[in-house]
């Protein structure tokens, strides 16, 4: 049995939807929080602390009937930058792509600056992603402040 099939046995297979794999162990719940923010009705099957191919542990989430786009996936990038996304149709993987850090986040996170105008106006938050020396910062398009990614990761776990 291949490694991939063994994973499928660990959590029940889905007919169509999305499988997010290789989530760092412990980050799965954060991602579930984000998914439920976007769609409270979403049907999920979750595997936590599964053995990973490279040794160590990972989390894995199966999402019924919701085929992720790259931008859906990118919203999860801060929490699981090395995860992979598998799009499933008819129990088969029809497309597979890595979650990549996007250039910007639009309407995903609230600005950590409480005096930012975005909190009072009918406007999407907009952040540019700045990467320097392995540190990721998000700079608000409106108030022009840059914030460490950890501030947004805390938002994500709610």
């Amino acid at each position: 049995m291949s490694a991939m099939n063994r994973d499928k046995m660990l959590v029940e297979a889905i007919q169509s939807g999305t499988v997010i794999d290789h989530i760092p162990a412990g980050k799965g719940l954060t991602i579930i929080g984000r998914l439920q923010l976007k769609n409270a009705e979403v049907r999920l099957t979750v595997g936590l602390n599964l053995p990973s191919h490279g040794g160590g542990l990972k989390d894995l989430i199966k999402i019924d009937e919701w085929r992720f786009t790259e931008s859906d996936a990118a919203e999860m990038a801060l929490f699981a930058p090395r995860a992979t996304v598998n799009i499933i149709e008819d129990y088969r993987v029809v497309r597979k792509f890595p979650i990549g850090l996007p250039e910007r986040f639009v309407g995903v996170f609230a600005c950590p600056n409480t005096n930012c105008i975005t909190h009072n106006e009918p406007v999407d938050s907009r952040f540019r992603v700045l990467v320097a020396d392995d540190a990721v910062k998000l700079k608000c398009h409106y108030c022009e402040r840059a914030f460490a990614d950890s501030l947004f990761i805390e938002q994500g776990s709610l």
């Binding site: 406007v123 320097a132 409106y142 022009e144």
Partner: protein, 314 residues
């Protein structure tokens, strides 16, 4: 003469290139020497101060009127519909339908950028909370060029609260286009933030921290003073620390003859009145230049091409 500012929003100092900044500096000098020109004739400018700031408002409104423009607007949010719960987006769209340009000040960061996105006319930021106040930086540049005869290659000391002072952050960013050498003089607790220093390093700009005000004076062309606010420091240390960042006339005995002392005003006690009578004091001329810098900006934003009716324009 065409100009690079026509119909542009001016929200953040980072939006302006070296060319834009030079345009404003040169135009400001021209307008100062030419006297009033009707460059805003038949233009209606909205002056919207959602937060009171008498000094900034008077400077902008003087600039508009000196150029023959007319004004509508308000000087604080007390009587506006914002008080009744209308969004800024709605207020600005309504005002933009009346006026040819909007000057605005607002207590929240990002308000001017948002306004520019919903307004169909140019928006000029007169201060958005703790974020940006680009015309302050423009008048600083105009004044530096005026008293030094150039902007390129100057040595500039920034003194006082360099941590929270948006004025010095914006000035450092704008002067960064002109190959400066910076000296930062501040209490340790109020040092220049790392992200600003990182930006300067990335731009290849030389800067160093200097311990004392007296030490830096002989090394610079411009001494830019700012206030160290009491609430930013430990109260028991405040008197001792703040006194080290107070400029007195006798400290200027080893200054270069071209040194000029600048300050965004209002000052409290960081520049002793004895300095006012020295040839180094330039802060009152600097404040006056606020009107010319704003005239230069407005005339550029509102006119595609400007015919100068006088000879000798640069």
């Amino acid at each position: 003469m065409s100009n690079p500012l026509y119909r542009r929003d001016v929200i953040s100092i980072g939006d302006l290139s070296r060319t834009d900044l030079e345009f404003i500096v040169n135009r400001s000098a021209e307008l100062k020497h030419s006297g009033p020109l009707p460059l805003l004739k038949d233009r209606l400018i909205a002056s919207c101060f959602f937060e009171a700031s008498t000094r900034t408002r008077l400077s902008f409104e003087t600039a508009v009127q000196r150029l023959g423009g007319t004004l509508i607007g308000f000087s604080d949010s007390g009587n506006t519909s914002a008080k009744k719960g209308e969004t800024l987006s709605d207020s600005i769209q309504m005002i933009a339908s009346y006026a040819d340009a909007i000057i605005m000040r607002h207590p929240q960061e990002g308000s001017a950028r948002l306004a520019a996105e919903v307004a169909g006319v140019p928006v000029i930021n007169g201060g958005d909370g703790a974020n940006q106040h680009p015309t302050q930086t423009l008048l600083d540049l105009v004044s530096i060029a005026e008293c030094q005869g150039r902007l390129d290659g100057l040595s500039v000391a920034l003194v006082g609260d360099l941590k929270y002072g948006r004025t010095v952050h914006s000035l450092a960013q704008a002067l960064g286009h002109f190959n400066p050498t910076f000296y930062f003089v501040s209490p340790d607790a109020l040092a220049m933030p790392a992200y600003i220093e990182d930006n300067l390093t990335a731009m290849g700009i030389h800067f160093s921290r200097v311990e004392s005000l007296e030490e830096v004076i002989p090394m610079v062309d411009v001494l830019y003073m700012t206030r160290v606010q009491k609430e930013r420091l430990d109260p028991t240390e405040y008197t001792h620390i703040a006194s080290q960042f107070i400029l007195k006339a006798d400290m200027l005995s080893h200054a270069r003859s071209n040194l000029r002392v600048m300050h965004p005003l209002p000052r409290v006690d960081e520049i002793h009145p004895s300095v006012d009578r020295t040839p180094f004091a330039y802060y009152f001329q600097q404040a006056e230049n606020g009107v010319y810098a704003r005239q230069a900006l407005l005339s550029g934003v509102m006119n595609e091409a400007i015919e100068l009716p006088f000879p000798g324009g640069r």
